[in-house]
Amino acid sequence: MSMAGLRFVRAAVFMACCTGTAVYSADWPQLQCTMQKTGRTTDSVLPPYRARWIWFGSTYTVRNRLSVATWTVNAYNLPSETIIGNVAPLPATVPFTFSGTMQPVVAAGMVFVGDMDGKAYGIRADDGSTAWVADLPGGTIGSPAYGNGVVAFGALTRCIRGFNAQTGAVVWEIPTRGPVVAPLVTNGSVVCVGCLDGHVYCINLTDGAMLWKSAYLGAQIVGGLAMDANHVYVPVETMYVHKLSLATGESVLSKKVSGQSFYRLWPVVYDNKLFVQAAGIPIVGSEYVGEQVMQGAASVSDEQDRWLQFLQGQGGFTNASPDWKHLTVLSIADFTEPFQVPDDPYEGCGTPPNPPCVASVGGAERLLAYYKTKYVYLCKDSAFGTAYSIDISAMDLTNGRRIPIDNGRRATNEWYTWETDNLYGMTSGGTMLYLRQGFRGTVGINLTTSNATVISTMYKSRDGGTWFPDLCYRNNYDSGERVPDSTNPEVGGRIGPSISGTLLLFTEDFCLTCLERQP
C-alpha cells in the first residue's frame, strides 16, 4: 500500500473510532481469510477490547451503547472488562449451536455464519442485527465462503447452497453424494468444496454452474482445502494430498504425507510451498512426549537437531519414531519435500496440531508455528503437559527450523492458560497475533512488544482458574452460573478470530461476538 493509501486508511479508522462507525477495510471472506489459508490480514485491532455487540439469535442482540450512543434497543454500557451477564440479560437457552470450527465470514458489511441445527445467517456487521435467516438442511460445521455477492455453505445433508448475501435468497444448490464437513475455499469467483463422498466440487459462485467435479480421490475429504491462482490443494483421508488443476479438476500431483487424519485442519500455501498439517499417528495429543529431547538440549539449535533425531527414530529417546511427523512441507511445483520441520508433537484433548499462520514480525511477514521447547522467547515459560514449555516462533523457510521471536520479554503480563494439549488456533491482524479456542477463550499477543491481552473467556472463573479478560459472559462457573445453553453438545475446535476493519469476531457455541478497540 502506498503511503497516501496508508494515511487514508489510518484516517478512516481514526474517524470510525470517533464516530462509532465500524470500518471494513478488508473482508474476511472465508476460513483463515485468504484462499492460501494464511490467516493474515493487515487490518489491526489493538487492545483494550470491548464488546460492540453480541448476537444470541435472530431475535436478540446485546449492543454496547458506548460504541454507538444512539443505540437504544437492548443497549447497555459495556466497557472493557465487563461481565456481560451482570449488565445485560442473557437468555437461558438459544435455539442453535455453533460448531467450534465455525469462523465467521465477513464481507460486504455482513457477517455470515451457519449453525449445526439447519440455519444460515446473514448479520449486519455494524450493529449485529439479523438481515436474514435461511434454511441449510442438516446444518454445518465448516465456515462458508463469500464472493460476487453470494455466500456459499456446505451442508451435512449432502448439498452445497449459495445464498444472496444481502437477502438470504437461495441462488443455487448443488447436490452432493455425501455430507460436507470441511470449510469452503474461494478465489472470489469460484468456490471449491471437499465432500465426504471423496469428490471436490468446483462451482461458479455467481450462478451456481458446476465447473467440474473431481474424480473420486480415494476416501473422504474432511479437512479444509487451499488454493492458489491455478490449483486447488486437497487433503484426503487416504493421507494423500492432491494438487488439482483449477481449470479442469484433474489431479496433476499427489503425495502421501505422515499422519492419521486431516479432520479440523487445512493446508497453508506460502512461499511457493504447501504446509500440510495432520494429526500424528501414535496419538493426536502430546502430553509428556519427547521430554528427553528437551531435557538434554544445550541450545535452541541443539534442541532442533534433537527433535529431528526424535522424528527419525534416532537418538535413543523414549518413543522416538518417524510416526510422530505431523507437519509436512511440499514444494508447490513438484511436491518434493525441501526439508523436514523439527516440529514436535503438540496439541491434544482430541484436537490435532494447529496449522501455521502468517503474521508480521518486526515489520517482516513470517510463517508462525508452535515449537515445544525449553527455550521460550515469546510465550509462557511453563506449560501443562511437559516439564518445559511450548513457544510460538517464526519458521526459517529454507530449512524449517525455529526463529525465536525475541522482543526482550515474554508475553506474560497477563495470565492465560498454556498447555501443550490445549492450545489455540491462530490468526493475525497488523502486529497482533490472535489465539483462540472455545474452552480457554481468546488471547492477543502484540508481536512487536510481546504484550499479552486476555481478550475473552466464557467465565471469569472456571476449571480452577481466574482470568481477567476484556470480555466474559458470566462470573463463576463453579458457583453455578451458566452461559446460555445451546441445542447440541459443543463440537470442539481451535479457530482464531476473524479480523475485519475495526472489528474482531468469533463464535461461541451459543453466540456470535463482535469486539472492537476501546478508545
Binding site: 487416504t238 492419521q260 501414535p282 493426536v284 502430546s286 502430553e287 484433548c349
Partner: protein
C-alpha cells in the same frame, strides 16, 4: 458348513452363558432382523458402496484389528474388530445385498477365517486376534505397535467375546446357507 450345526453350536454356547432362565432371551435367540419392501432403486447407491467395501475386504484377506487413537497420552489406544470372528457379522449383514460372485467371495473368505484357530469365534487361542497380523485398514503405517498393550490390558478384564460373534456366525449361516 451346515446351518443346523452352527445353530446348535450357537445355542449350546448361548445357554452356557445365560444359564437356565433363558425365556427372556427368546427374542434374541429365535428372531432376527429382516429387511422387507426395500426400495432397490433408492438404495442402489448404498448397495454399490457396500459392494465396494466388501470387495476391499475379500481382496485384502485377513484383516488386522483396526486402530484408532484420538487421545493425549502415548500408551493409550483403541482398537476395533479385534474379537476373533468379528468380521463374519459384518459380512453376514452385507451378504443379502451382494451379487452371486461376491456372495461366493464372502463364503470363501469366511471359510478361510474359520480355518485359522485364532480367528474363530469359539477359539481358545486367546481373547484377541493377533493385533498386527493381516492387512491393515488404516491409511498409515506404523513403526511401533502403538497403544495395543494398554488396550489389551483394559479389555482383558471382561473375558472373551462369545455371544455377539457366535450370533454373527449364525447370521452368516442363515443368510448364506453355507
Amino acid at each position: 458348513m451346515k446351518t443346523w450345526s452352527v445353530r446348535a453350536w450357537c445355542m449350546v454356547a448361548m445357554l452356557s452363558c445365560v444359564g437356565v432362565s433363558f425365556a427372556q432371551y427368546d427374542q434374541y435367540i429365535w428372531q432376527t432382523n429382516k429387511t422387507a419392501n426395500l426400495d432397490v432403486v433408492a438404495a442402489q447407491p448404498l448397495i454399490e458402496k457396500l459392494k465396494g467395501e466388501v470387495d476391499r475386504i475379500t481382496t485384502a484377506g485377513h484383516l488386522a484389528p483396526l486402530r484408532m487413537q484420538q487421545g493425549d497420552v502415548t500408551g493409550e489406544g483403541t482398537f476395533f474388530y479385534w474379537e476373533p470372528g468379528r468380521i463374519i457379522t459384518t459380512l453376514a449383514m452385507a451378504y443379502p445385498y451382494m451379487d452371486a460372485p461376491r456372495q461366493q467371495a464372502i463364503r470363501t473368505y469366511v471359510n478361510a477365517e474359520l480355518a485359522t484357530d485364532a480367528y474363530r469365534p469359539w477359539t481358545i487361542a486367546g481373547n484377541f486376534m493377533p493385533p498386527f497380523t493381516g492387512a491393515r485398514r488404516e491409511h498409515y503405517s506404523m513403526t511401533q505397535q502403538w497403544g495395543w498393550t494398554w488396550f489389551q490390558n483394559m479389555e482383558s478384564s471382561r473375558g472373551p467375546t462369545r455371544i455377539a460373534t457366535l450370533y454373527g456366525l449364525w447370521l452368516y449361516a442363515y443368510n448364506s446357507g453355507d
